[in-house]
C-alpha cells in the first residue's frame, strides 16, 4: 500500500496555486481564468497574471463555474452568481451547524 511522502503533501489554504496549477486542476485555459479575474468574477492575489496566486476557494469556484457554463450555457456572470449563492448556502449551513441545528 503506497504511503505518500510527507514532502509531497501540501495543504492549500492561503494562496497556494499558481495560474498554471489552477488551470490544470480546474481543466480550464489560462484565458478562461484571466477573463474572469479581469471581470472581477474570480479573485487572484497580486497584480500581474504571471504572479497570480489562488487559494482553495478559488479552485472550488472555478470547478463550479466551469460546469455551469458548460452544462447550462450560463454566461460567466451568472455562473459567478450561482457560485456566490453556493458559497452563501455553505456559510449558512455552517452557522446552523455551529448553533447545533445542522
Amino acid at each position: 500500500m503506497p504511503t505518500n511522502d510527507e514532502a509531497l503533501v501540501a495543504l492549500l489554504d492561503e494562496a497556494g496555486l499558481t495560474l498554471e496549477d489552477l488551470c490544470r486542476a480546474g481543466a480550464v485555459a489560462p484565458e478562461w481564468v484571466s477573463e474572469r479575474v479581469e471581470a472581477g468574477l474570480l479573485v487572484a492575489r497580486r497584480g500581474e497574471a504571471a504572479g497570480w496566486q489562488f487559494d482553495a476557494v478559488a479552485l472550488k469556484r472555478v470547478r463550479c463555474m466551469v460546469r455551469l457554463e458548460r452544462d447550462f450555457d450560463a454566461v460567466p456572470e451568472l455562473a459567478a452568481l450561482v457560485a456566490d449563492l453556493q458559497a452563501e448556502i455553505e456559510r449558512l449551513r455552517a452557522r446552523l451547524q455551529r448553533a447545533g441545528l445542522g
Partner: protein, 332 residues
C-alpha cells in the same frame, strides 16, 4: 457490472437530439440538485444524471455507447466486449469537474481514460508526452484526526493505462498523512497522485477536499470549535473552575464567571483547531438542574421559591437579552 441506460436516466428517447438531451439534463439537475431537492436520494440521483449527461452530451462517447447499448436494458449484467471501442476516438472532454468517486464502474470502464484519442494518434515511433490529469476527491475526517494529524486511508478508483496501452479500472488505497490543524474546506494536494502521465510525462496531482464527520460534542466553525459547557446552578451562580476535555483527550480548566446564565458564551482564545493561526474554543454555558425528584433538591427549590418570591425569570431573561453580554473566559 450492470448496464446503465443513460437515456432512461435522463428520460429521453434513444434518438433524442443533443438539444433535447441538454434540456432533459437541466431539468433533472434542477430536480435533483442536493442543495435544493427534497428527494431522499437526491445526491445519488444527481450523480447518475451527471454521469448520463457526461456520456450522452459528448458525441464521441454517445456514438460508442449507442454501439454497445443496442438492445440492452437498465440493470442487466454487462461486460464490455474486447476492443468494443475500436474505431472510436475520444478526446476526453465533457466529464471534467466531476469528482473521482462520482463515476460508476460502468462509466469508468467505458470512458474512464486519460486521453485515448491522443494515444491513438501517436503512430509508431511518435513520442507523445502529456502530463496526467489532476483528480479531485473528498476526504471525511474525524475531529480527533484533524486535531492531531493522522494517517487516513483513502480508496480511489481510477483508470490506469498499462504498458500495452490498455485501460483498466483500478482501485487503489492511499495512506494520506493528514497535516495537524487541517480545517473544513481546505484542500490537501498530493503531488503525483492524480492521473498517470503519458510518454514519460509526470502524473497529475490529487486534490482532496476536507470534510468533517459530525462530532458528538464539538461543532466546527472554520478553525473555531464550539461546544456546550454543562454547569450546576451554583457553579453558574457563584462562579467556578470547571474542566473541559479537548479532542486530544487533554483537559483544560476554564473559569466560569459568577452569574453566568444558560446560553452565555465563553471564548478561550487559541484553543480551537491548532495551526499557524489557531482557532478559538467557544463554550456555551448550559445550566443543568438537579432533579426535583431528589428530596434534597426539592427542599432547596421550595426554599428558593419561598424566599425569592419577587424573582421573575421572564423579566431577568429579557434584561439579559437586551444587554447581549459577551464574555471571554480566562484559561486557568
Amino acid at each position: 457490472m450492470q448496464f446503465k441506460d443513460y437515456y432512461q436516466v435522463l428520460g429521453v428517447p434513444r434518438d433524442a437530439t443533443a438539444e433535447a438531451i441538454k434540456k432533459a439534463y437541466r431539468q433533472a439537475a434542477r430536480k435533483f440538485h442536493p442543495d435544493v431537492s427534497k428527494e431522499p436520494d437526491a445526491a445519488a440521483r444527481m450523480s447518475e444524471v451527471n454521469e448520463a449527461y457526461a456520456a450522452l452530451s459528448d458525441p464521441e462517447r454517445r456514438a460508442a455507447y449507442d454501439a454497445i447499448g443496442q438492445g440492452r436494458r437498465q440493470g442487466e449484467a454487462f461486460t464490455p466486449p474486447p476492443d468494443w471501442d475500436a474505431g472510436f476516438e475520444f478526446s476526453g472532454s465533457g466529464a471534467e469537474g466531476m469528482d473521482a468517486g462520482e463515476f460508476s464502474d460502468f462509466f469508468a470502464e467505458l470512458f474512464g481514460r486519460a486521453r485515448p484519442g491522443a494515444r491513438r494518434h501517436a503512430g509508431p515511433g511518435a513520442r507523445f508526452e502529456m502530463r496526467g490529469s489532476d483528480h479531485h476527491a473528498k476526504i471525511v475526517l474525524d475531529l480527533e484526526d484533524a486535531w492531531r494529524g493522522a494517517t487516513q486511508q483513502v480508496t480511489l478508483r481510477s483508470p490506469q493505462v498499462d504498458a500495452q496501452g490498455r485501460v483498466a479500472l483500478q482501485q487503489r488505497t492511499l495512506d494520506v498523512k493528514i497535516p495537524p490543524g487541517v480545517k473544513p474546506g481546505q484542500l490537501i494536494r498530493l503531488a503525483g497522485q492524480g492521473g498517470a502521465g503519458q510518454g514519460g510525462a509526470p502524473a497529475g496531482d490529487l486534490f482532496l477536499e476536507v470534510h468533517f464527520r459530525p462530532h458528538a460534542r464539538f461543532r466546527i466553525d472554520g478553525a473555531h470549535l464550539v461546544c456546550d459547557l454543562p454547569v450546576a446552578p451554583w457553579e453558574a451562580a457563584l462562579g467556578a473552575v470547571v474542566p473541559v476535555t479537548l479532542p486530544d483527550g487533554s483537559t483544560l480548566k476554564v473559569r466560569v464567571p459568577a452569574g453566568a446564565q444558560s446560553g452565555r458564551q465563553l471564548t478561550v482564545r487559541g484553543k480551537g483547531l491548532p495551526g499557524a493561526t489557531p482557532g478559538d474554543l467557544e463554550l456555551v454555558v448550559r445550566v443543568v438542574l438537579p432533579s426535583a425528584f431528589d428530596p434534597r433538591a426539592r427542599k432547596l427549590y421550595e426554599q428558593m421559591a419561598a424566599e425569592l418570591a419577587d424573582f421573575d425569570a421572564r423579566k431577568v431573561a429579557a434584561a439579559e437579552a437586551a444587554r447581549g453580554e459577551w464574555t471571554h473566559a480566562d484559561e486557568r
